[in-house]
Symmetry: C2
Subunit: 319 residues, 2 copies
């Protein structure tokens, strides 16, 4: 199966057809789905099994209205809608309806209406059941050093072998979801301390937001829970240049990470090709490689497709 090309990695992380580049494929896929609506806005895509569960008040409670191929969550305020969806999730857990909820995190994600207005909050592990757009932060710590082939080396962690999702896979230096109420920057500062023991003062001074990637992931086995769940995501990307702070060495702090290695770009490319990275983390590395002139129009035949597709636009409102 390996080696994976950059385009293979992109297809693994961004598996749902795009309306812009492949309109027919997109509408074929969409025709099998039910739209989760707020007023006239699509806020999520529902697989048939989940839509039929939501339409059954015995399984999901009375908080859902259905009309043709659309379903709406009832409630006139964010509080009411949050409480209603939470009640549904409690019913589902009691009935053991969806395995993905075994990974319950007790962490709330925010779902937005247009203009960044809060629509409701939802338990993190449940977002993919509704095809809801979620947000995270990923940071790449690196050094410029001619001793490494390619002149650049990245701090790469191995995920803990006991993690429910992608155990033992490689990851970005630091990564985390943005919980409801948090900014991107405060999230990266917090995660840098928790996952990599990076000093807060250093992170606040030197971590720079340099873009965002967006992709529509169709969950595979490795993600845990049901396969095929729809997971559109945005990740704010941060660079942390430690070239002049060689004394700073990421170390595991919580139990998320087994250890860190400083890997030259050629070694990172090799492990990407072997499929060793968590799928969305591979996309963050591809974006890093583009911005740092490692993937170029001269050495990557699918350069333009990769650069554009790393920045997918969604029908859903953004935060």
């Amino acid at each position: 199966m390996p080696p994976y090309t950059p385009l293979d990695l992109l297809n693994l992380g961004d598996g749902f057809p795009s309306a812009s580049s492949h309109p027919s494929l997109y509408f074929e896929s969409l025709s099998t789905l039910t739209l989760l609506l707020h007023e006239t806005h699509t806020i999520g895509y529902l697989l048939p099994s989940i839509a039929s569960t939501l339409r059954d008040p015995h399984l999901s409670g009375p908080h859902w209205s259905s009309n043709g191929n659309t379903i709406t969550l009832q409630g006139s305020t964010a509080e009411e809608r949050s409480s209603n969806i939470h009640a549904t999730l409690n019913l589902w857990r009691a009935q053991h309806l969806f395995r993905v909820l075994d990974g319950w995190r007790d962490e709330l994600y925010a779902v937005y209406a247009p203009r960044g207005e809060l629509l409701f909050t939802i338990e993190r592990s449940a977002a993919a059941l509704f095809g809801l757009l979620t947000y995270g932060v990923h940071l790449t710590a690196f050094i410029h050093d001619p001793a490494y082939p390619g002149g650049l080396a990245l701090w790469i962690p191995t995920r803990s072998r006991t993690k429910a999702t992608y155990p033992g896979y490689l990851d970005n230096t630091v990564a985390g979801g943005i919980s409801a109420g948090y900014t991107a920057f405060e999230t990266i500062v917090k995660e840098c301390a928790e996952e990599a023991s990076l000093p807060e003062v250093l992170v606040r001074e030197k971590a720079k937001c340099v873009g965002a990637i967006s992709y529509f992931y169709v969950r595979s086995e490795g993600a845990g829970g049901e396969s095929g769940l729809l997971q559109p995501e945005v990740q704010y990307c941060y660079d942390l240049d430690l070239s002049d702070r060689r004394d700073v060495v990421p170390r595991p702090c919580d139990d998320e990470v087994e250890g860190f290695e400083l890997l030259g770009v050629e070694e990172v490319k090799r492990r990407l090709g072997e499929g060793k990275f968590k799928p969305n983390c591979a996309l963050v590395i591809l974006d890093f490689f583009v911005r740092h002139n490692i993937l170029t129009p001269e050495n990557e035949p699918h350069y333009l497709e990769i650069v554009a597709r790393l920045h997918r636009t969604f029908e859903f409102p953004l935060r």
Copy 2:
């Protein structure tokens, strides 16, 4: 009208609705257009006036077949198709059918089938008549210097007052279209010499491709010729960091540019807000600002929309 926000600038440069973020608007726009097809692939969008001209062999020659809302250029090889479309353009010029052809450049652009195969070449000034995707290179030369507010200054040229398109507007340090047969890198090297007198050795060593932007421009008055012509574009973006080469100063060489100024980021922002930049050059600066942590999630409310829409995916095959 001014000041323009970054989102206003994006809307000026990327005015055609997107299938991904606004499917209904997109299909409403598309329903007024005719598709230019190659086999089953859409390679361009035709306005009604242009489609009806192509359907009339007295106006456009015999090289076009029409079927429902699609039109195909005849010819079984790239040479034959190029020769056929050139014959049509000669007829149109003789009849003075389209004002945009007054800007005839004697420069050939390449149009691609899937997998980068050459479909045909076409005179540059005619590409927008067929809504064909074209390619260019834009370079931003800059210095890091704490003397400037924001710590960064960009070399910004003013376009010649005698240019047919956007006379007197501000531009990127160097920019140019990619002619048929040229690579992106060879184009930027050539344009750096022609437009900014930058030494070839320096450019080859220090100009780095750091991504690409893509957008669907709907031509306005300033672009010259008919308004409303459809112009989807990809621009490879290059950074040229001159922080350690303060002796290098861009100077006009050909007659494209009136002069260069070194402007701090706050001054660049002010002039962007005043609408002084050529629309697509403003988008290159927004991308530069994102990559250099000048536009951030904290200071730009539409950050995610801007980052994603600067990287539009198209239905058309890519080079």
